[in-house]
């Protein structure tokens, strides 16, 4: 039925006037009676053995045919895009100041690779996107500081006693690049790797794509930081 919806209505004439058989309709040829519209058993069974030879279902209504064709191609496109965005790559806009200067506070688009979802082949220094553990339904982007088994400082360096924690199995420790203004694992604890949705490969800000660097660098203390 799908195929007959998508085929172009070439054979409209074929649908309206059924093919005449030699010797059978010669007698009634002069009456010019329009063919009956109720489906006779012969009409229904004509195309069971050769369904591809049947005219399209909406052959008599070309506008409806075109609309249905458009809708079906639209649905196919939506499914294809959904699978691509879910399993391959997606572009997402990012808002917030917690990853400055790597990612701007607004206007940046991030290219996220879904190959790295659920922690597959991730390492320390990768910028990842994850489902927020506290606010269900929201996503966030931070950098991994520790993988399972690593020891990380659980507080901001310079503030507090420098308590260290070992990242438990199946979790990771994420921090934002802008340490002063970032809500990350220092607040909500180790992040389960099952919540990680992908790795951020590059950003487009707004016209020029830049690759993100997935490595740890020493912190830069800006002048004028308020303690």
């Amino acid at each position: 039925m799908l195929r007959s919806c998508l085929r172009r209505p070439y054979t409209i004439q074929h649908a309206i006037t059924p093919p005449t058989r030699i010797g059978l309709r010669v007698r009634n040829a002069s009456t010019n009676k329009p063919p009956s519209t109720e489906p006779t058993p012969r009409k229904l069974l004509r195309y069971t053995l050769k369904p591809w030879a049947a005219p399209p279902l909406l052959a008599r209504y070309p506008l409806a045919h075109q609309t249905v064709q458009f809708l079906i191609y639209g649905l196919a496109g939506c499914l294809a895009f959904h699978i691509f965005f879910e399993y391959f790559y997606v572009l997402e806009g990012a808002y917030g100041i917690s990853m400055l200067p790597t990612i701007a506070s607004s206007g940046d688009c991030l290219l996220i690779s879904k190959y790295y979802r659920r922690g597959r082949q991730l390492g320390v220094g990768d910028v990842v996107s994850y489902k927020h553990p506290i606010k269900a339904g929201e996503y966030a982007v931070k950098r991994i500081l520790g993988m399972p088994g690593d020891f990380v400082v659980a507080e901001t360096p310079g503030k507090g006693v420098g308590r260290m924690i070992q990242v438990p199995e199946g979790h990771c420790w994420v921090v934002g690049d802008n340490l002063t203004w970032s809500r990350d694992s220092r607040m909500f604890g180790p992040l389960p790797l099952a919540l990680v949705t992908g790795k951020v490969l590059a950003k487009c800000s707004p016209l020029w794509p830049t690759r993100l660097e997935h490595e740890l660098k020493p912190a830069v203390i800006e002048e004028g930081d308020v303690d």
């Binding site: 196919a76 294809a80 959904h82 699978i83 199995e169 199946g170 790797l193 099952a194 919540l195």
Partner: protein, 219 residues
Amino acid sequence: MSTVLTSLRRYRRTLWHIALPSLWVTASAIFINDNIMEITSVTGDSMAPTLSPDQDTTGRSDYIAWNKWNANTSVKRGDVVFFGLPSRPEDTGVKRVIAVEGDTVLLDPRRRPKNGNANGGPDVPESKSWDAWMGRAKVPEGHVWVEGDNWRKSKDSNWYGPISRSLILGKAMAVVLPTEKFGSKPWEKFNTRTRVVRTQVDTRTDLELLDALGPNGTV
């Protein structure tokens, strides 16, 4: 190039009738599996005898249909949920939600983590963290407390603590296999012995709160 076109033309009927429908079916199946419904088997006996009661004897596990539409937005106490495990990200677990955010769980001493059988065994590292709750575990914001129905053999929130609500992938809809239990929901009549102090949710509107303000300006 012309050979490719002629072979394409020759196999156009095959392409149109076999390859394209199979692409449609695969794409729709993937979309439905991710967003609407998924059917998985329940292995392990942490939910026995509610789910998979015969797994140890006959090896047959139950197959459950999970509702994945907005699964983590409306999680209620008593739901059986399907979630990604916090300790092994590639695996999933099936447990029952006992408490939601804000509740306080009065821990059941029978469920204290220990190695070995239910009659006592050596402590494991998780026993210490269970003792640190001092019998009352407050479920933080955005988290849920899950427990397996089989208190003897269940590695649940008593072992790994409350799990984030974002980890929940689906809620149980009905049993699919075995065919005798098709359509049934065996988890609905279960009464857990773990007691929960429910959080007091204030559902009054702003105007009602204003009206309720006492002489000191407090509610």
